[in-house]
Amino acid sequence: MKRTPLQSLVLYAAVVLAVVLILFPVYWLLVTALSTTAELTVLPPNFWPEVPQVQTFSRVWAERPIPTWLLNSTLAALGSVSLSMVISVLAGYALSRFSVRGSQSMGIFILTAKMLPATLLVIPLFAIFRQIGLIGSLWSLVIAHSTLIIPFTTWMLKGYFDTIPRELEQAAMVDGCSPLGAMFRVVLPISTPGLAATSLYAFVLSWADYAYARTFLVNAPESWTANLGITTMRGEYTTEWNEVAAAAVFVAIPIMLIYIFLERYLVGGLTAGAEK
């Protein structure tokens, strides 16, 4: 159906509004990072600093352990992604390919964990990790994040595997593969978009976490993740918001780069399930 000029206008206006709403915080983060402390307190606010303070970035990078925080965040996220993907690929494949009695309710059961608030799970997890001596270790984050990630990625991957014809694995088995071999040699290589989408979801969820990191790592500064580290930049009496914003930009850059790199897989992964 062809749109009338008015409909097009409304549509484009809605798109522009949505883009502005989404990008404004990013823009404001940059403005904050590039402003002086004095500029941040004036009313009405300045929408662009008179002299952009680029040196704030180098100062924050030099004075704060940003590289360590980023490294810790990366390690925790990569660990969570690896553990979650190993488990959810196998679980999602099994749920997709084998008719298990009650698999429908199993799906709801799996998703229930996702519905629980993080603050509810943090207490029992803290008790468990203290007993096994993981408090202060990045492993606590890897395991805790995985408990959040696995249910959802299992379900996402099950949906993806459902779209792959079983005949492909059957053909591989006739060609001499074992069932597991057929999965690794045929199903997984053609599931790259689905795997990329779920891995990215897992990575972002782990990267963005604050509650678990605050609970498990607060007394171990050497293990602080970027999000936890940034919150420690708040002073007791004053906060250098431009420095906090500059640090936040550093934290946002890796995830933006990953999004840009994985975009084509991500779009394919998110739409592939709609074909059936």
Partner: protein, 364 residues
């Protein structure tokens, strides 16, 4: 090459038996077609034969080796699937060579075998393309290439032509038949299309509700169907069926008493069958007049539909197909008008009789 022996194989899912005890001998080099309507168990049988589904009971031998419990890859068979099942992430070359690679063959040997198979099937120009860049017919040829390259002892084909358009299907049908003649590998082919079954098979196995109805050469199935199901399933259009009762060795068909060759007790209810091809225009041994309700012209021949009245019998599986009435398939290129009286005739020898209760053929 090898013969295949299936002994009392059955398949159940819980209480549901989808394949009743099934025994079949496939000769070395034979082209055997399993045919039947959807849900008759033909694809299940093929999957059991391939090792993709376990049999609930029975034994399978390929050559002299029992393969009942062997994995698909250990049975030395190749399978062609309905949707081709080409690996989308691999090139044509890698697709064809995949099975050889899995068997640990050297790269040089794989390349030589792939080249030979690709040339045989005329896909050697596309070896570096991915399946998505091929047409339906080319994909089907690659799927066949993947099967022949391994030089297996048997080919299993699961409705390999049903995704192709009508013209290409006819072409590929001939290609598969020619390929079979050339390589001579024992082939078990599953289809729901009786034309494929009749044109390609050395022998046809007709299945219904998980049971074998008849195993015979295509011409035998057409000429001497064992039961009403086979009679109505084979032939296009299907056989005309009429209710009748035997009286003094005759049955009343289209208002005429026609002698039957078989000895049947008086008063026995029977179903008389007459193929549309055996009804001729004009007078003959048994003649009758009809008013066509519909005339379909195919150029050199015509399908003349007419009302069979109360006598017409519609077999359960063909209710839709027979809803237009009885059919005469006559060679005639002139005009035939609907509603205009027309004389048809047939030879009593062409009449088939089936027991109305058991639906089995009654023969002399």
């Amino acid at each position: 090459m090898a013969h295949i022996s299936i002994k009392d194989v059955s398949k159940s899912y819980g209480a549901l038996q989808v394949l009743k005890p099934f025994s079949l001998e496939v000769e070395d080099g034979e082209f055997l077609v399993l045919v039947g309507p959807s849900g008759c168990g033909k694809s299940t049988m093929l999957k059991i034969l391939a090792g993709l589904e376990p049999a609930s009971d029975g034994q399978i031998f390929i050559g002299d080796r029992e393969v009942t419990d062997l994995a698909p890859g250990d049975r030395d068979i190749a399978m062609v699937f309905q949707n081709y099942a080409l690996y989308p992430h691999l090139t044509v070359r890698q697709n064809i060579g995949f099975g050889l690679k899995m068997r640990g063959m050297s790269a040089t040997d794989i390349e030589a075998r792939v080249q030979t198979a690709a040339k045989t099937l005329a896909v050697d120009a596309y070896l570096d393309r991915k399946p998505k860049d091929l047409s339906g017919g080319q994909r089907q040829r690659v799927a066949l290439g993947r099967a022949i390259v391994r030089e297996p002892r048997a080919f299993l084909m699961d409705e390999p032509l049903s995704n192709l358009d009508a013209k290409l299907r006819v072409h590929m049908r001939a290609e598969i038949s020619a390929l079979h003649k050339r390589v001579g590998v024992t082939t078990v082919y599953v289809t729901h299309d009786q034309v494929e079954a009749m044109t390609m098979a050395d022998r046809v196995v007709i299945m219904r509700n998980g049971e074998i109805q008849q195993i015979a050469a295509p011409d035998v199935l057409f000429q001497r169907p064992d039961n009403l199901f086979v009679a109505s399933f084979i032939g296009s259009p299907g056989m005309n069926l009429l209710r009748a009762k035997v009286q003094n060795g005759t049955v009343e068909i289209f208002g005429q008493r026609v002698a039957v060759a078989a000895t049947v007790e008086d008063g026995t209810p029977v179903i008389a069958g007459l193929r549309p091809e055996y009804l001729q225009l004009g007078t003959g041994a048994v003649s009758f007049t009809v008013r066509p309700s519909l005339v379909e012209s195919l150029g050199s021949e015509k399908y003349v539909y007419f009302d069979g009245g109360q006598q017409a019998f519609i077999h359960g599986d063909d209710a839709d197909e027979n809803s237009k009435g009885l059919i005469a398939r006559v060679s005639h290129s002139g005009g035939l008008a609907e509603g205009e009286e027309l004389t048809l005739s047939f030879n009593p020898e062409d009449l088939h009789l089936f027991d109305a209760k058991t639906e089995r053929a009654i023969r002399s």
